[in-house]
Each structure stands twice: as C-alpha cells, then as structure tokens.
C-alpha cells in the first residue's frame, strides 16, 4: 500500500476552507465598488474559458462573459452564500452561454436543441494542440453529457468536487463517481483507438 500511495500525489490535508471570495462579497455589500473589480480580475479567465467551451467564437465568448459579470453585479448584493462565489458565477455564465446559443441558434453551424446544450456532447473546438490533443477532445466529445460536464469542470476549470456538484446539480459523491467513469471511458476510447492503430 505504501508503494501505491507513494506513487500518488498527496495534496494538502483535508480542511474545510472558507470561500476566499466571501470577504470581497461583503466589501461589495458594504458599498466598496472596487471589490467587484477584484472579483472580475480573479474569475474572468476561468469564466471565459468555460464559456468558450460552449460558444465557438472567442469574441462572442468574451461578450457572454461580460454579460455574465453584469448579471452577477446586479445580483451580488443578494447573494445568499449557499454555494461558493465561484460556482455561483460559473452558474450565471453557463446560463448566459445557453441563452446566447438559444438566441443565435440559426447562426450556429448545426441546430442545437436547448436540452442538447447540456446533454449532448458539443463538437470539439478548433484543434490547435496537435494530434494527441485533437484525439483527446474528440474522445471527450463522446462522453455522456453528465460525465463530460463533470470532467471539464474538474480538469479544465479546476473546481473542487463540491463546486462541480453544485454546478452539475448532483451530490459530491456522484460528481466523484462520474469523474471516475469519465476518465475510465476516455482511457477505453483512446486505448481502443491505440489498439486499432496498432
């Protein structure tokens, strides 16, 4: 067991960390406008990247990210703190992205039903990361919708399983299990391709 455990990355001890953004929210509620600018600076990259996975245009993704922050600005004073600030922001961003896709359905390369926006795999984006990257993205696109969402939020957005669960509307344990099956399925898909090529 020691050998196996030694091979695995041991992260920081289990602690229930406080949401580091809560202080900024409180400052904002107290009338400190600059606190919101700090929240934007901290989360705009992550939100844009997540939105960009839904919307296959850099500029449109930036517009939707801006729109999400405007909504967040209007609602932040009423933020109740049931979820982390980050997952609350990401939820707003996902909703804005889905609204944008619905409004621009005709402009999309293929018609996408709203239910499919979450449930169906989105086609892989522009491939600029070599053959391995393109195969990985293609494999991700084949995942079942829930597994895909959990995997992307975890791996690409660096969210905790708790935050992933909040966004995927499931329990933390379900998020962990979905993550495992997503990784396993990717291994199967890519392993199968490898075997077929070999």
């Amino acid at each position: 067991m020691q050998a196996a455990a030694a091979a695995l990355p041991l992260l920081e001890p289990v602690t229930e960390l406080l949401d580091p953004d809560r202080e900024l929210v409180q400052r904002f509620r107290d009338g400190d406008r600059a606190a919101f600018d700090l929240i934007v600076r901290k989360h705009q990259k992550g939100m844009w990247r997540m939105v960009r996975r839904y919307i296959k245009s850099d500029a449109d993704a930036a517009d939707v990210t801006q729109q999400a922050f405007v909504r967040a600005f209007r609602g932040l004073a009423s933020f109740r703190g049931a979820a982390s600030v980050r997952s609350w922001l990401y939820r707003i961003a996902i909703n804005c992205a889905l609204s944008w896709i619905r409004d621009h359905k005709r402009e999309q390369p293929a018609e996408i039903a709203e239910s499919e926006l979450i449930e169906a795999p989105v086609a892989p984006g522009r491939i600029s990361d070599g053959e391995d990257g393109s195969r990985l993205r293609a494999a991700i696109a084949q995942l079942p919708p829930k597994q895909k969402m959990v995997l992307e939020l975890r791996v690409f957005d660096d969210l905790s399983f708790k935050e992933v669960a909040e966004l995927a509307d499931c329990t933390e344990n379900t998020a962990k299990v979905n993550f495992h099956y997503a990784v396993k399925r990717l291994r199967d898909i890519l392993g199968g391709e490898h075997a077929a090529r070999g």
Binding site: M1, A4, L8, P9, V40, R126, D129
Partner: protein
C-alpha cells in the same frame, strides 16, 4: 472490495484531500490488496495529467480590455438589494401598525377574564368555613342548602346577611359561600354536586339552622 471503492479511484488520485476520512481509508485499503486497482489508479492519473496539459480552446482575449468593458457596463455605483432600497418603509410601517393597534384597543376594550370553572370538592372539611364574606353578597349566584334530601334554594337572597345570621346562630361561624375548592354547605344551586361532599355534621348544622329560621 466494494464497487463504490473502485468508483472513487480517480477522485482519490486527483484530489485525495477532497475525500473524507472513511472514503480515503477504503480506497487505500483497496490499493493495498488489489494490484488491478493500483494499475487502474495509475492509468487514471496519467489520463488526468494528459487532460490537464491540454491547452484551452480558442485565443484568449485581452483581459484588461475585458475588465474595462465590464467596469463600464456595470457602472460606478453598487446596487442595493430590494429590501435595502425599501428600508425607509420600516419605521413608517412600525408607526402605522402601532396606530392601528391603538385604534382597535380603544374601540374594543379587552373584556375582563372570567375565572376558570371550579372542580367539585370531594375532600370533606371537618368544619365549614366562611370565605370572603365581604364580596359574597355581590353578584352572588343562586344558593341552596341540602335539607331532607332536597335542595332548598335560597335564591339571590342577601348572602352576607344569611351568612352572618348562620354564624351567629351556629357559633364558630362556618358556612361556605363561593364554591371555592374547600368550601361546602352553602353552594351554588345550579350545581349541586357539592352535596356529595358534605358530611353529616355539616348537613345537620345547616338543617337545624334552617329549621330555626322557618319556625
């Protein structure tokens, strides 16, 4: 090995700190005894590393420009939640509520509370006692004696005078007037349950007194 333990392998390799103590213990036990699980965990770790190394999609925008555009879009002032915008209503509402209660109270005074009903007293006192004579005559209910197996109703007679008379004639004053817990002998005529609680002495005294009054 439980199936659930296998399902936590990827979460374990990607964030052992996010597993609770029990989950971690179970996965570590599994890794200790099962070489397939160890291989599975290692393969998952490699796959997760590959995924994390994948560059993001698209070309990132100018973050300063995006930040600036957001700042302009939201404006300079911090919005207040609706309950803060309406907080000026609180003192007005409190004042209006107070005024409404005052008006209601003035037009509909609260009635005086009525005394709770008294349970019949089954504990027979050795002596009949007089209680609260001063108020006994006021608003007295119809009263009665028990005499010759009959209830003798003395109606709304001046009870104070009756009691004084009784005391005077029977010696050390003893008669009940108000149906209170330990009273007996002269009690409300509309509820003769008290008769059962009288002892022979009390009845004899009451009967002899009433006989004298009649004669």
């Amino acid at each position: 090995m439980r199936r659930a333990d296998n399902e936590l392998l990827s979460a374990y390799v990607d964030g052992v700190a996010e597993l609770d103590a029990d989950e971690r213990k179970r996965v570590e036990k599994l890794l200790e005894i099962d070489p397939d699980a160890r291989a599975d965990a290692e393969a998952s770790r490699e796959m997760i590393d590959r995924l994390r190394a994948l560059p993001g999609e698209g070309t990132e925008p100018d973050w300063s420009a995006l930040e600036q555009s957001i700042r302009q879009a939201v404006g300079p002032s911090v919005p207040s939640p609706w309950w803060r915008r309406l907080r000026w209503l609180a003192p007005i509402g409190a004042l209006a509520t107070t005024a409404a209660i005052a008006v209601l109270w003035l037009h509909h005074p609260v009635p005086e509370p009525t005394p709770p009903p008294v349970a019949p007293n089954h504990a027979v006192p050795p002596q009949l006692h007089v209680h609260d004579r001063a108020t006994a005559a006021d608003d007295s209910p119809p009263m009665a004696f028990w005499l010759d197996d009959q209830a003798v109703d003395i109606g709304n007679a001046d009870l104070g005078a009756v009691l004084d008379d009784f005391d005077r004639e029977t010696g050390d004053g003893a008669i009940a007037t108000d149906g209170s817990a330990d009273s007996a002998g002269l009690l409300p005529a509309d509820d003769l349950g008290w008769v059962d609680s009288l002892d022979d002495t009390a009845i004899d005294r009451a009967e002899s007194w009433l006989e004298r009054k009649k004669s």
